[in-house]
Amino acid sequence: MQHTSTQDTLVGLFVAAGIAGLFFLSLQVSNLSSFYDKETYTITAHFENSGGLKVKSPVSAAGVKIGQVSAINFDPKTYQSVVTMKIEADYNTLPDDTTASIFTAGLLGEQYVNLEPGGSETFLQDNSTLDITQSAIILEKAIGQFLFKAAEEKK
């Protein structure tokens, strides 16, 4: 097998194309470019019930995604769900009486945390806790209550 410079060029092109494919996958296909390099600060909120919220679910304010859920834990003392969120450092002017609610995108869509800013003059700091929260609406529960009520009325 003799070595030719054409062969070297083709190998070079092949490796370059492969690496370009890897770059394409990481930058264009996955969310690598959108979140990892941004600075964030952490806030927590206690919910009665966090429903189907998952780690990495979006956190949005006024419909714009400003962060994501980084951890969901159960508090064994208060029996509440402790949701830890990472908010982009650019959005550091949220008032400390911001309301956190868990909403569903569409009827059967995924759940996300919605932040409704209050009127306070002081802003949320790193590691601060949101006091006013509204739990997820559990569809099964709502349907159950509705059916129960309908049955009561018939009597």
Binding site: H3, L10, V15, G21, S26, V29, S30, N31
Partner: protein, 260 residues
């Protein structure tokens, strides 16, 4: 009855002996990798032979697989009014499963069989013994560069397969069927994770490259040095590679995407 047990025992023993030889062969190949590094020419030659020549079949297959996914996905998703998630469906199925698996199967058919036939013929025409007579270790000179080339090519080929497939899906989805192009990409970017999806897909393809090249080289090296033996070894390479790829894929998927 006794005869049956005897043949059963014999075949079991032969297959274990073969596995043992294959493992020994792998260890020799791995230790031979260090002597490849001072001779990049050998590696470059094999990268051409294994990687560049597989480039065309991989990209064309990737394009068509992506286009078929786009078409089929659109028909099913449009029933639920969820055509926008087409991008996510195409990307997830390509990056997680089809990219690594189909490109590895094609790689086994295209490059693996060629490697087995080449090395089997080298053995049949006593070139390997000839090299050994010149005090050159055939493992270091012949096998290790090919192994490294296969190991390096596979993840690149799988990434190309997925990338071209996603573009193919986009061509069909938003070009022919009218899915919004922005939604195609944004749905994909919102749900595909770098760590969980892309990196795991690459790990899969590295594992498949390792196993396929190992099987191809070992079958060639272990072939009975006749034309019939080489042809049988080539068949075994393709069959065993396919089994290992699909079996390992199940195990890897269970390990990687278990809790989500």
């Amino acid at each position: 009855m006794i005869e049956f047990l005897q043949t059963l025992g014999k075949s079991t023993r032969t297959s274990f002996t073969k596995l043992g030889r294959a493992t020994y062969f792998l260890l020799q190949t791995l230790s031979g990798l260090f002597s490849v590094l001072p001779r990049p020419r050998l590696l470059l030659n094999q990268l051409y032979f294994v990687g560049v020549l597989s480039f065309l079949i991989i990209t064309i297959s990737g394009l068509f697989v992506g286009m078929v996914l786009g078409l089929q996905g659109y028909y099913i998703l449009s029933d639920f009014g969820a055509e926008e998630t087409l991008g996510l469906m195409v990307a997830a199925s390509l990056v997680r499963e089809l990219g690594p698996v189909v490109s590895a199967l094609l790689f086994a058919g295209r490059a693996g069989s060629a490697l087995t036939a080449e090395i089997g013929l080298m053995k049949a025409t006593e070139q390997l013994s000839g090299i050994e007579m010149m005090a050159v270790d055939p493992i270091k000179r012949i096998i290790s560069p090919r192994f490294l080339a296969g190991l390096l090519s596979m993840p690149l080929l799988a990434a190309l397969f997925s990338a071209v497939g996603i573009i193919g899906g986009q061509l069909v989805g938003s070009g022919l069927l009218g899915v919004d192009e922005g939604a195609y990409w944004s749905q994909m970017q919102a749900k595909m994770d770098f760590q969980d999806d892309i990196v795991n897909g690459i790990i899969k393809s590295i594992v498949f490259g390792f196993v396929t090249t190992w099987i191809a080289l070992f079958e060639g090296y272990d072939a009975i040095p006749t034309s019939e033996g080489v042809s049988r070894a080539t068949t075994r390479t393709v069959v065993n590679s396919a089994f290992s790829i699909l079996g390992l894929d199940f195990i890897l998927t269970a390990l990687m995407f278990g809790d989500d």
